[in-house]
Amino acid sequence: MDRRAFILALLAASGARAQGFAGLGADAQGFALPDPARPILFPRDHGPHPDFRIEWWYLTAPLQFEDGTPLGIQWTLFRFALAPPDGNTPPPAVWMGHAAVTTATRHLSTERFARGGTGQAGATGAPFAAWIDEWQMAGETPEAITLSASGPGFRYALDLQAQGPLIRHGAQGFSLKSASGQASYYYSQPFYRARGSVDLGDGPRAVTGEGWLDREWSSQPLSADQQGWDWFSLALDDGRRLMAFRLRGTTDFRSGTLIAADGTARALSDGEIVAKPDAQRRGIPTEWHLQIPTEGLDLRIAALNPDAWMETRVSYWEGPVAVTGSATGRGYLEMTGYARSAP
């Protein structure tokens, strides 16, 4: 299982929610499943995949204002199919968007919902676009896109230019997520250079930084014992990119991809990743010790704002982080399945 699937699993796979409004309780039956014999193919797979039950577009960007003050933005769009495709009409779907801006002292987040088929939310492959309400990610291809969102008290617009190739995780995009064989299709563009503006209610201010796009789709729920995950996307100053996650269950499942500055990717196996939580804030580890011994990486990860809690209907922690240790850099950290304690 991958990180975002946990959110979807909350909606789709557990208990009473299974028969919920969205009718998401239906299991993967009738939906397509990831197949290692069918690797990700571009540009075909830039578009939406209505045969799969769940799918998402995820962009995180650690940024800085012109005076060097660090911040980060998050832009997320989920699609949940309510019923398997019947071959004729497009299956009914619900779309959910999350957006946030995080500085060292503030964390503004909001969410949107839309029903499929109305145009209020949707996605296309060519041109490459995804939107809900006025939030939009759009470009001819993922090479160069614009990204915008707004919410109570914030607003941002970014131009993102890819500086490297698209990365297929796992085996050509077939990304195995558990020992029992669950998987998703997963690719990223981790090499965006970002520039644009962020308005926190006091007028737009110019920002620059890096961006990381994730595209992922699947049909399978989490297994019962998996409570959540800790997921890292890091842009190192030496040009390398690192994606690593730990799924917390009866036995933890770790996986990742180390991407060289030239875009050469190497999948990291379960045994290659050591992730240990350090300092906590309200029961959530906001500092980490992340090691990839086979690559000589020994990193300390610290949240820019330990209170980057997403106060959305499905709530979790997501925010920008700084990297120190055997390499330096910055990135994003997402943690789900934690109970947030009282302040």
């Binding site: 009718g23 619900v94 839309a114 029903r115 919410g151 209907r313």
Partner: protein, 774 residues
Amino acid sequence: MIGAILHAFWSHWRQNRLQLATLVAGIALATALWTGVQAINAEARASMASAADAGRIAALPRLERAGGTPIAMAEFVALRRAGIMVSPLIRGEIEPMPGLHLTLTGIDPLTAPEDLWPPGDFMAATTPANEVFYNAPGPQPPSFSPMAALPEGQAVADIETAQRQLGRDGFDALLLVPPQPLGAPDPLSVVPGLQYVLPAAATAPGALTESFQMNLSAFGALCFIVGLFIVRGTVGLAMAQRRRSMAVLRALGAPAQSLGALMLAEIALIALVSGLLGVVLGYVLAIWLMPGISVTLQGIYGAEVGSQVALRPIWWLGGIGMALAGTLASAAGPMLGASGRAVFAETQRRRGVWPALAGVAMLIVSAGLVIWGAGLLAGFAAIGTLLLGGAALMPGLLAGTLGTARRLARTPITEWTLAEARAQIPQISLAMTALMMALAANIGVTTMVGSFRTSFSDFIAQRLAAEIYVATPDGGDMLKDLLDPGEHLLPLRSVETTVAGQPSEINGIVDDPIYRGWSLLDGSPEAWAQVPQGGAIINEQLAHRAGLSPGDMIALPDGPARIAGVIADYGNPLGKVYVSATRLDRIAPGLKAPRHAIRSNDPAALRTRLIAGGIAPERIIMQPEMKAASLEIFERTFAVTAALNALTLAVAGFAVLTSLLAAADARLPRLTPLWAMGVDRRQLAALELARVTLTAAATALLALPLGLALSWLLLAVVNVEAFGWRLPFRADPAGWLLLIGFGIGAALLAALWPARRLARISPRALSEVLSRDG
């Protein structure tokens, strides 16, 4: 040894079955009162969200097409994609079964304000979206689900389902859902042809409901305190009676520690059983009072609260917890005293002046909290210290009052009765403290609810002085042509802005006698005359939050304005500023009036004329309906308060009864000398009744200032901290006298049985007492 101790305990209860019964009943009644109030509160709270939302749909501003034609899906999507948070709405009549007529509202749970969807959070819902939720008696149509939170005759469904049911495409209106994102454009610039429709009059006083609930909570806490006193009194008496057997057990070698531990276990067991009984009683009480509560909420929202009381763990566990903790806390003192007492020492510890000093200190702390404290917590702490201080001072003040009365006594018997009443204070003081607490709570809460009701009905009468209110999204130009010569229009216009750092609304008013009827909390009587000259009148919320008073200057968008007066504005969270219509034109040029008030001598005829002139009926509100709906809540609050008052007094009366029964045997040696001197048994019984009545009357007198102080704290401190407005204190001497009468009556009633026993006691028993003690 343990076996022997347990046996001794058990035989005590076997010999004093009545005492066991009173202990169990005391704990159970106190728990019942506490849980009952909790249950009502929890239930009201739990039902509030959905009930509130039925009214919220009507209270939200919306967009409609000028001609009333439907709004297309594409237009909804265009507005959303421009970054305007709107949610579609469709409404119509359906007849899913012959004879079943329902008003169906279709909403989009994905974009509607959170919790507007009647079954709750749509993501946690357990029912599919193609169902219609409705409330109507009779058989259930297929794919319809009953939902008690909806007003009767109403149905709610997902917008697509509703469109299918109504056989229509498009939407009737788009609700504007706050908060809008930063930089959201004006909707009318995105989709031309739409217009804003504001609710015809701002009703739904949400803050008032919260205030009602908070006051109910305060009442629950007071009941808890009364309950604690009763438990303490009963346990204390039981322990006192056991003193002799304790001494024997200790003399036989029972270690004080084992005695203490076993007594603790014993009292915990009794508390547990009694607490369970109390929770059941509380449940019955809640069910009995609940119809009142649900009708109350129906009065506010036009929505029925589920009339069933669910056994929520939070309050039944809480009730048992309260019984246990309260019993142990209040029994700890007497129990430790009993087990730790030296083997044969029998002397009563003298308390001296310490309780009185502690009481005075508590009252000083309470006053200090009022003067220097800030926040709601300080307000409640002030109430707590006030009550504790009053309780600590009670015995001393009671003794003083009776001592003073004794000096006025003419006959020896009167003097003896007064002296005896004074001498008996230590025996009865706990019960009387319970009575005083109950009376103080009743006086306080009754005064508060009464003040609330009077102030609010005056306020409603002033604010809703016009006979008809009309929503006029087009600015109301057509209204003028529909009026008779005797009728005139008052445009209601406002802009939202920030005044003195507070989110506020600036209202423009025309010079009309209607406004001069609004009474001022502060400012000269000529304040309204200063408004046409550029002056401003502000509401209390703004005055309180920004620290403003008449004579101060505030900055308005077109320049400074002097504050001429402050008016009350109950149940409104926003600051408000009233300026002249001409001044508002300068602040917001071209601002149309989205609402109009109309003065008319024949409102019914005017309504018919307005509808015939093309104004939709739902845009017209008749003042009497609005007044009635707003006032309903206070009538119901009154009913519930009266029921709770009666119960609290009954519990306090019970405490008096138990203490009298417990002391009855000890009374005989005091009374037999009088009998020997020729006072017959009936007279003795009458004297005992007189003694209890005198004590209760003195207690009730002391309860009055305490109750008034309590109501003042609730009105002038707690309410201001919680909601920003202060309620004027309205004296209700008749009500207080009645309550005091009830208090004395409860004590008298409690004394009847012991007195009757005394009147029928055999002369031989009295002779025996005389020969033994005399």
